[in-house]
Amino acid sequence: MRKGELAKEPFNFIISGVGGQGNVLLSAFVGAALLNEGFMISVADTFGVSQRGGSVTSHIKISKKTLYSSVTLKGKADAILGMEPVETLRTLVEFGNPYVMVIVNPRPVYPPGGVSYPDLDEVKKSIIELSSQTKFVDATEAALNMGNPIYANMILLGSLVGADILPISKGTMISILEERFPESLFDINIKAFDKGMELIAKA
């Protein structure tokens, strides 16, 4: 995507996941990067008790001309970053349309109390059917290989930037990460970020 360009006005981007996966952190990074790229943005995060293992979404509405309300209109998502497959499908059900692009971490987070989780292949098939393009990035797997599942969100962030769906350059995002991470944590997070860029190129 060309610097400063938007595929659509406004562009509706959603991050979906489960409380505790780091939605709010990711949306803060994406928001800060978009601000540096010169856009007007509204970001809605889920706070409070739903962060305790419930469904959480962050909506980011991006515009070149005005500040919109943050929440995406029904059926109007332009891109979705899914941190969990069922949550990605839940987001598609409400906000999907035939043109939406999806990047998704296929690792399930199981709901509590014996609520049964659907067949993963069926979930993946539905995600593909409800989007124009789906890329699977096994971020949790890659993070566990790096020694801690916590890196999954940085891997997904790398994939998002690498996929060139949003008008965010790698340089802009790296400078945000430099600002936000203490020096001791910067290298490992950049490693995760690069891993995500590598995975999306292959996805």
Partner: protein, 648 residues
């Protein structure tokens, strides 16, 4: 440097609504800020606390909202601008003081309260609309529509407060508080160098300057109403009220707050800009009547779009009635007509629905082929109930309660409270909490239940509160129980954090809002001083906790206390406390569905770190989520869950 304190007017930064509120207070030059944490307002005070030292502001977590408001008023009496923050319920707690403060008036310096309502109630036990209570108080009320406006309005609210000598409210909603967006910074009005001084000289020409008292009542009540009329005059010309649309719209929307952008987006989506005009009110109480009357005269149809109560709707209809017969052919739509609801959060989509009905237009965001695929997908998407975290001490406490009450056998039950442990009424707390109301109310209710022996009541009564709640609202109810010899056990779930709202410190934590050390107020010592017998348990010591509960229940005498002390897992994560155990399931020992335990670990115990391995038909540990607390090893009847000391 923090965006909150950056003195670069004109710079655009990205701020959370709550951060913009904090910035507004700093731009206004406050000298003191006091709050009690309550989402959706919880992030405001920490944003101020972060820069409190460099900005020379005293910032505090007060023990409750009434004290927070009193702290603010005290500063105002000494000439220092003061700010308080609370969620909707907070106004109820502070109400008794505010009613009286309105009689005495404030000091020379303004007092502003940011109050955040929670339409949809995602982080609350109710959906109270705080606007109604501010009207009842007789305080002016502003409602920002964006983070930018929130910042600017807070600043202006101080001017209003000083102009009319009354506490002024700024009301936000969850969506405003929790939306991050572009904000252009303004100038910081530094209050440095202003000396705080409580006026000591009795000045006959300005008697209130040195006395802030409420009586004699009728003398002070009349000026209150005059102040509100003065606020109305200020509001008539406020630039926070604006109109977009044709001169004579077919439909006039009157809206306020976060709903403003829902209206403009709905109109854009329906391409109805030539038919619908939007009057956005930033000042909603007292209503700027001349302004509204002027707009009522431009149309025949009015739609009210506001969150929760039909507050503006009622005020405008009252005005319309006073303007009869000029307004006799107006048709009103809103919560009253059923086009929108006086409950739950509104959205652009709901406004679109209301407009399609009134304007007789259609709106179809997706084609039928896609909708059909959506319907198929809906069938496979499971619910995801919220849960206590992996390693949460509350799960351990509720498990011990469940077991102890079963062993006791007298059908005992729990009177619950507000906090993460509210989940105790559902599966995460094994349905043990049977009442839940306001903060501290479980203990009050238990007081009543514990004094029914004379009418045959013989069930054990347990009441809950968290450590932060203990200081906020539990202490009077516990004193009441000791004094009136009520038979119940108070369980203080002390996880050393106000966890649900974001880990704010409280008097028991030894930390101030700024992070500086504080005197530890000892819950155990307080309870003992009140005369209650006290036991302290670590709920992860399951056997001892169950034993203690059983033993205490048998005592059947007076108000007793058990402090369940174990650090919140999320605080452990924040402090990078390494995990204690490596967990695994010995799949030889796990008998799966043949065990007869009916998946006790994954279905009933329900820790997110446990999962059911469908292929093997056995339990497994989710290594991405397990925090190694080790508790599940104690609950498996087959001893199949193994804990091993974590290395390093």
């Amino acid at each position: 440097m923090s965006n909150i304190s950056m003195n670069k007017p004109g710079t655009t930064v990205l701020l959370l609504g709550n951060e913009a509120v904090a910035r507004g207070a700093i731009e206004a030059g406050i000298g003191i800020a006091a709050a009690y944490p309550g989402s959706p307002s919880s992030e405001v005070l920490p944003s101020i606390a972060e820069v409190a030292k460099e900005m020379n502001i005293h910032t505090e977590w007060s023990v409750n909202e009434k004290v927070a408001t009193e702290v603010a008023a005290g500063a105002s009496f000494a000439g220092i601008r003061a700010f308080s923050v609370m969620k909707q319920n907070g106004a109820n707690v502070a109400s008794d003081f505010i009613i009286n403060l309105n009689m005495s008036g404030i000091g020379e310096a303004g007092v502003v309260i940011y109050i955040a309502d929670d339409p949809g109630g995602m982080t609350s036990s109710n959906e109270e609309d705080s606007r109604t209570i501010t009207k009842w108080f007789d305080n002016p009320l502003l409602e920002p529509s964006s983070a930018q406006e929130a910042k600017d309005m807070i600043k202006w609210a101080f001017e209003v407060s000083e102009a009319i000598n009354l506490l002024t409210f700024v009301r936000g909603v969850k969506r405003l508080s929790y939306t991050r967006s572009n904000v252009v910074l303004g100038e910081i009005n530094e209050n440095k160098g202003k000396k705080a001084y409580f006026p000591e000289v009795w000045d006959l020409h300005n008697p209130k300057k040195s006395q802030f008292t409420t009586g004699p009542t009728p003398t002070y009540h009349k000026p209150l109403h005059e102040k509100i009329e003065k606020a109305r005059e200020l509001f008539e010309t406020s630039s926070f009220n604006s109109y977009i649309g044709q001169e004579n719209p077919e439909l006039l929307i009157i809206t306020c707050g976060a709903c403003t952008s829902y209206c403009t987006e709905a109109i854009e989506e329906l391409k109805a800009g030539d038919r619908v005009g939007v009057l956005k009110l930033g000042t909603t109480w007292p209503l700027p009547e001349k302004l509204v009357a002027k707009h009522l005269g431009t149309t025949k149809q009015v739609l009210f779009v506001e969150e929760l109560d039909p507050f503006v709707e009622r005020s405008v209809m009252e005005l319309a009635a006073s303007l009869l017969p000029d307004t006799c052919d107006l048709t009103f739509y809103g919560a009253r007509s059923g086009h929108l609801t006086p409950y739950n959060e509104l959205s652009t989509n709901l406004v679109i629905n209301a407009l399609t009905g009134i304007l007789s237009v259609t709106h179809q965001p997706r084609d039928l082929a896609y909708e059909k695929k959506v319907q198929e997908a809906i069938n496979i998407v499971p619910n995801r109930p919220i849960n206590m975290c992996a390693g949460c001490p509350h799960r351990a406490t509720f498990w011990a309660i469940k077991n102890a009450l079963q062993l006791d056998g007298r059908k005992g039950f729990v009177c619950g409270d507000i906090g993460c442990y509210s989940l105790g009424f559902g599966p995460p707390g094994f349905f043990q909490s049977r009442t839940m109301h306001a903060m501290g109310s479980g203990i009050g209710v238990a007081n009543g239940l514990g004094n029914l022996k004379h009418v045959g009541f013989d069930q054990p009564v347990l009441a809950l509160c968290g450590d932060s709640t203990f200081f906020h609202a539990a202490m009077p109810a516990l004193v009441n129980g000791v004094y009136n010899n009520s038979n119940f056990i108070l369980l203080v779930l002390d996880n050393s954090a106000t966890a649900m709202t974001g880990f704010q410190p409280h008097p028991g934590t030894g930390q101030l809002a700024t992070g500086d050390p504080a005197t530890v107020v000892d819950i155990e010592a307080i309870c003992r001083a009140m005369g209650a017998p006290v036991e302290v348990c670590d709920p992860f010591d399951m056997d001892n906790t169950t034993e203690t509960l059983l033993h205490m229940m048998k005592q059947e005498k007076g108000a007793r206390v058990i402090i369940m002390r174990h650090l919140c897992q999320l605080v452990k994560d924040k402090r990078k406390i390494p995990k204690e155990y490596e967990m695994h399931v010995d799949q030889e020992r796990c008998l799966g569905d043949a065990c007869g335990c009916d998946r006790l670990c994954t279905r009933l115990f329900g820790c997110p770190g446990l999962m059911w391995d469908k292929e093997a038909g056995k339990a497994a540990i989710d290594e991405a989520l397990c925090v190694g607390c080790g508790l599940c090893a104690d609950i498996c009847p087959a001893n199949a869950i193994i804990r091993e000391e974590a290395i390093g």
